[in-house]
Subunit: 150 residues, 2 copies
DNA sequence: CTAAATTAATTGGCGTACAAACTATTATCG
DNA sequence: CGATAATAGTTTGTACGCCAATTAATTTAG
């Protein structure tokens, strides 16, 4: 009789997975900020360094596939990493269209410092490794779901 | 003898929760894009509308607490929502420092359309409601963890 | 072999996101 | 009461993130 408020509000903010996802993402990235600041890195730049430490050399296209980022996003980001002295940006001699992104000595040395970051984050979160692994799996499933059928 | 590659690479890209979080967040938001486009809304603007549908009227400060966003982010975002005709921005007569954000009739009418979005996203993801609820809980725990001790 | 199509990066535009500086208003305290 | 401090928003600067348009190089096809 009284259509006051629905018992289950489909649009309730605290029920939206997309909202929880964006807050969680921004909040966790915020934890990295003070740890990355000494190296002058932002979190996206840190992810690019992770990709390079693992797969160097990489083209912009390959980096974009790994990080799921636009070339339009990566292009200026890589220039900043170069300005920081962590990477080289040269055209690929085999294919002058492609960029060949490699690490500088400074970029390679940074890896040892970076290895302290993940444990520091885990400690800061105070969550069990198991719970974090479960979350990682759940996120991987969502990511796969977004790449689904349609 | 051969220090080729560590069996467990702490810095492996596909092992980072922060990476999965940012990809998942961007990927899910990407699903909203075509659904929000007819209304001229971005995903952050959509979240602001959710907050207003639930709690109108709101000040910038209150919106910032709900959405975990800077006033510097919200200020221009709200002007765009006003330009779209969905909200009013007036100074609070009780406290001229505060802004009183309210919905226009068009903004209120939009709610009925918006109710179709969450089910469409869930269908598009093709995940069970239970799995999504588990994910939501896990994300809520991470968010709480980032607000932890230190 | 050359014109057309494809591909890889870059550039520019718009909208967040966050920090810092600034303005206006209100509250507090001597 | 009046100077000071605190508060609410706005503005500016930097860096994503995504889209669309552009440029340069390589393929493909005729």
């Amino acid at each position: 009789m009284e259509p006051v408020t629905e018992p289950t509000d489909l649009l309730a903010l605290d029920r939206q997975v997309c909202f929880a996802l964006s807050i969680a993402s921004r909040s966790v990235i915020g934890l990295y900020r003070p740890l990355l600041q000494p190296f002058g890195l932002t979190h996206p730049q840190y992810l690019a360094m992770l990709a390079l430490w693992q797969h160097e050399p990489l083209s912009v296209k390959e980096l974009g596939e790994l990080l799921q980022l636009d070339p339009g996003t990566l292009s200026p980001l890589l220039k900043r990493l170069q300005a920081l002295g962590y990477i080289n940006r040269e055209r690929d001699s085999k294919d002058e269209r492609a960029l060949c992104v490699t690490l500088t000595p400074a970029g390679r040395e940074l890896r040892a410092e970076a290895e302290k970051i993940p444990p520091a984050i885990v400690a800061r979160l105070g969550m069990s490794l198991e719970e974090l692994q479960d979350l990682h799996q759940a996120l991987t499933r969502v990511i796969a779901a977004t790449r689904g059928t349609a």
